[in-house]
């Protein structure tokens, strides 16, 4: 059986090279996280930053935690928070892509016009961009990374109750910011999201 991350980190305190195993285990997940959150061209540099910071602070890792993934997500979340511009750019670009005309769109339904979809997605993206940092972090760890409340609490080093309340506030804000769109129904009409694993 593979040794837990905590054992890898404990070893790396004395033999730093051992830390490389942590990259092998979590580098891909972290890169995907960063590519979702910031402009793709920035993701590689930030991945390097996340692991460099993790290595330098490996002495702070609480060894009773088996998996280092929430800790790494936490470092990555802090790194992303410093690149708000890149994040806003990524969201805008994704909203534009989401609004591109579907080849199988229903010509009988005039409500589903390309313009409506464009405006709606842009509004969702802007609403996410406008959220307070702490709420956006929780919201996206939950909805994009599909982390549990407990995992998010560990990632952000806050109590689970705080995760719940931040998520609630973020959703309420997002709803009020997007609800004003009469064409919000357009969003609900695209295909269902994949089931969670």
């Amino acid at each position: 059986m593979e040794e837990p991350d905590s054992a890898v980190i404990a070893t790396s305190l004395e033999w730093p090279d051992a830390f490389g195993a942590l990259f092998d285990r979590h580098g891909g997940v972290l890169l995907r996280f960063l590519m979702r959150r910031v402009a793709p061209a920035d993701a590689e540099g930030l991945l390097g930053e996340v692991f460099r910071i993790a290595f330098e602070r490996r002495g702070d890792f609480e060894l009773e935690r088996a998996s280092a993934r929430p800790w790494l997500y936490g470092i990555a979340t802090n790194v992303v928070a410093k690149h708000h511009r890149s994040e806003a750019r990524r969201l805008r670009a994704t909203a534009r892509l989401a609004a591109r005309p579907e080849p199988v769109s229903d010509p009988a339904d005039p409500a589903v016009s390309a313009l409506d979809a464009q405006a709606t997605w842009r509004r969702v993206a802007e609403a996410v961009t406008a959220l307070p940092e702490a709420e956006r972090a929780v919201l996206l760890l939950y909805s994009w990374e599909e982390l549990s409340y407990d995992e998010i609490a560990e990632t952000l080093e806050v109590p689970v109750g705080t995760v719940r309340s931040r998520l609630h506030r973020a959703r309420t804000r997002l709803r009020s910011l997007t609800e004003r769109a009469e064409d919000f129904g357009v969003v609900g009409r695209t295909q269902e999201p994949e089931a969670k694993p």
């Binding site: 490389g20 590519m35 290595f55 330098e56 969201l91 994704t94 892509l97 997002l174």
Partner: protein
């Protein structure tokens, strides 16, 4: 009501564009860089000193580039914050830290000397090998306003302006200089 969460889930970039796979070479390069960094001595994490100035620039990105190039400061790269209304950065030399940000009345009322038509402060910095520091600053385009000189209080010093007119005083203790030359 989960409309807003559903909408958000659909806005996940790799769902919007599912055929946009991760380039495995990015991970290979990342691992290489991490291992190279591990082999090299890691930078020491020091506490911020009790007093540290914050300087305002109209173009803080250009200032940052200049200060590193001309005055040999090193940036705490992981501390840099890039926001739409300006970048904040921390520069180190020895055990000192200086913070760099964009100028503006709304930014703590801090103005750049170019906006002010003068400056109200000078930052004093002790460096190692002030002669080499002077040559480098001069070669990189710093405006020397006081030439390099031994002073009666035991320092060898010079003063320079950066591109926006902040005044810097660089010095080395003559006693350190003597130790270095023996």
């Amino acid at each position: 009501m989960s409309d807003e969460l559903d909408a958000l889930r659909r806005l996940r970039p790799d769902r919007v564009l599912p055929d946009d796979p991760i380039d495995p070479e990015v991970l290979t390069r990342g691992k290489e860089r991490l291992m190279a960094g591990i082999a090299a001595p890691t930078p020491e994490h020091r506490a911020t000193p009790s007093i540290y100035p914050r300087l305002a620039y109209r173009d803080e990105a250009a200032a940052l580039e200049f200060l590193v190039r001309a005055f040999a400061f090193s940036e705490r790269r992981e501390a840099r914050m890039e926001h739409p209304d300006g970048t904040l950065a921390w520069l180190e030399v020895g055990d000192g830290v200086v913070m760099i940000g964009r100028s503006g009345v709304e930014r703590h009322g801090l103005l750049s000397p170019t906006e002010l038509g003068g400056t109200t402060a000078m930052v004093n910095v002790y460096v190692q090998d002030v002669d080499a520091h002077y040559q480098r600053a001069k070669a990189e385009g710093a405006e020397i306003v006081l030439d390099l000189e031994d002073m009666f209080w035991g320092d060898r010093r010079y003063e320079a302006l950066d591109p926006e007119g902040h005044r810097w005083h660089f010095a080395e203790r003559l006693s350190d200089l003597q130790v270095r030359s023996t």
